[in-house]
């Protein structure tokens, strides 16, 4: 069978193939698209690596003896230490890319116009990934993760009304032997369900593509080559983390087994959860903490409407961009403040940085964008 007959056969069986081939062979893409546009693809690739390493980990993980099973993976399983390192460094790379994507979106105002849907989807993706990351952290069975889980399940039992019902349903009761088993299933399910969101965003992102311009090009080989470069650089950074800094952003106390009788001195979460952990100080109590985190993410969802300027994406004034950079520094500072030893200064700093975060979105963004629109 020659190649034309093969193509005709596959097109008849699966008509999408013909559509995709036509799209691939028609030059439709603008030139000079920046490397950072490859971030969504890099995130997808990282999610694939996380899913694969997670699958291997799941074969050996035992939610009824979590610490022992993680030790087994690291010490007894062939290349188990490498798989675990891939999973942990993969998480670091994933959240680095996601935070970079969010930062870029806020800086360039990519949530405007046709990019609004993609922005909402991206924030949803980030939120789901943060929840998945927290669940994965709980699964490690370490001292700090155990303290965090105990706190969460116990406070969930005390909430009144509907939130209490939902929280109790989520955890299946106070912390006990079966809690990690259900969280492990949730972690895996969310990790796979995220791919649906990724596919959704992939199609939605087509609406954001710039106009092809005078000399459009095909995806292959031009952008295939560019994506290859991006993947290789990303893999290089990933390798540096996985092999030379496998415990980046991890609290060393988490290497000890969970013990309900001992409260860790410094219960810092992993780096990607640190800003969320810090923002909890704004409102009192455990319930207040959850509301603060939800508000933090909610403001990101509301950004297209908080931005009062009607200027299209990629256009913003100097003051707005400066404020966004300050916001990024503020979030980083929030993370560091959470990582400090608990002290009065640390808490005051956390409150200051957290209030600036809310101030930026609720006050500064509408004001500055309205001003610059004129």
């Amino acid at each position: 069978m020659d190649i034309e007959a093969q193509k005709a056969w596959s097109d008849r069986g699966w008509p999408d193939l013909a559509v995709w081939r036509a799209r691939a062979e028609t030059p439709s893409l603008a030139r000079e698209q920046p490397y950072l546009d490859t971030l969504p693809a890099l995130i997808t690739g990282t999610l694939l690596v996380l899913a694969a390493s997670g699958l291997v980990l799941a074969v050996y993980y035992n939610p009824w003896a979590p610490y022992a099973s993680v030790q087994f993976i690291k010490r007894e399983v062939n290349s188990g230490w490498l798989i675990q390192s891939f999973h942990q460094s993969g998480t670091t790379m994933l959240f680095g890319a996601v935070y970079l994507l969010l930062f870029r979106g806020i800086l360039l105002r990519l949530y405007k116009g046709s990019g609004e849907f993609v922005w909402l989807g991206t924030v949803a993706l980030a939120s789901v990934l943060l929840l998945t990351g927290w669940l994965g952290y709980m699964l490690s069975g370490g001292a700090v993760a155990g303290a965090s889980l105990r706190q969460a399940t116990l406070s969930a039992e005390t909430w009144p009304g509907l939130p209490g019902l939902l929280a109790s349903w989520f955890f299946g009761g106070p912390h006990g032997p079966g809690t990690l088993a259900r969280l492990a299933v949730l972690h895996a399910v969310l990790g796979v369900a995220v791919f649906a969101l990724v596919l959704l965003l992939r199609t939605a992102r087509k609406a954001m593509l710039p106009a092809p311009g005078a000399h459009p090009v095909t995806f292959h080989p031009y952008y295939t080559a560019q994506y290859f470069v991006a993947f290789t650089i990303f893999a290089l950074i990933f390798a540096l983390f996985a092999f030379f800094a496998p415990h980046f952003g991890d609290n060393p106390l988490n290497a000890a087994p969970a013990n309900p009788l001992i409260m860790p001195i410094n219960p810092t979460p992993p780096w990607f959860l640190a800003p969320l952990s810090a923002i909890r100080v704004v409102l009192p109590g455990d319930a207040g903490g959850v509301i603060a985190v939800l508000a933090m993410l909610g403001l990101l969802f509301a950004l297209p409407w908080l931005d009062r300027s009607s200027a299209p994406a990629h256009r913003s004034g100097f003051l707005y961009r400066l404020l966004v950079v300050v916001l990024a520094l503020d979030v980083i500072a929030l993370g560091f403040a959470a990582a400090c030893r608990p002290s009065v200064t640390a808490v005051i700093l956390q409150i200051v940085f957290a209030l600036w975060y809310f101030f930026h979105f609720l006050v500064l963004t509408p004001l500055v964008t309205a001003l610059e629109a004129k």
């Binding site: 034309e4 490498l82 891939f86």
Partner: protein, 189 residues
Amino acid sequence: MAGTSEPTDAGLTSEHDVGSRRDFLTILTVAAGAVGIAATVWPFIDALAPNADRNAVAHPVIDVAGIQENTGITVMWAGQPIYIRRLTKQQIADSQNVVPDSLPDPASYSERTKPGYGDIVVVVGLNTAAPCLLLGNEPSEPRGPLDGWISACDGSVYDPLGRVRRGPASRNLAIPPFTFLDKAQIQLG
């Protein structure tokens, strides 16, 4: 991408016009990328392979130096009881004197023992007819008329080499795969 109907935009060049240098570069890059992907995939496959722990369970080492003559030990392996017994000289002589063809399941002495370690018998301690345990390994259990093993449920009689002599059973006791590491140690599997 076959050249069916290539748009002839001014900015596009077909891959075939280019000098061989880019083809070599592209091939080298793709090949290197493939090597990288293979090297990354390998640990995932290796991690699912049996590890040292499983190997220890799959191939346990049993110490047989402590087994006295005419006594046996029972070891659980692969979900089955394995009977290891040390024979007396009389039992060895009697076994060698039996004509193999006269047995329900012909087997000679040399087929049932390992050369050089002729006084150790290793068999799976399950009756080959009606499924039940064999009696005769514990000192308190009856051994049957031939001082070997006897089946508790259907009365099949086995000799000290594990060959069936009488009874509903018609096949000798199974021999598990094993090797002698030295005079004192057997590795199963």
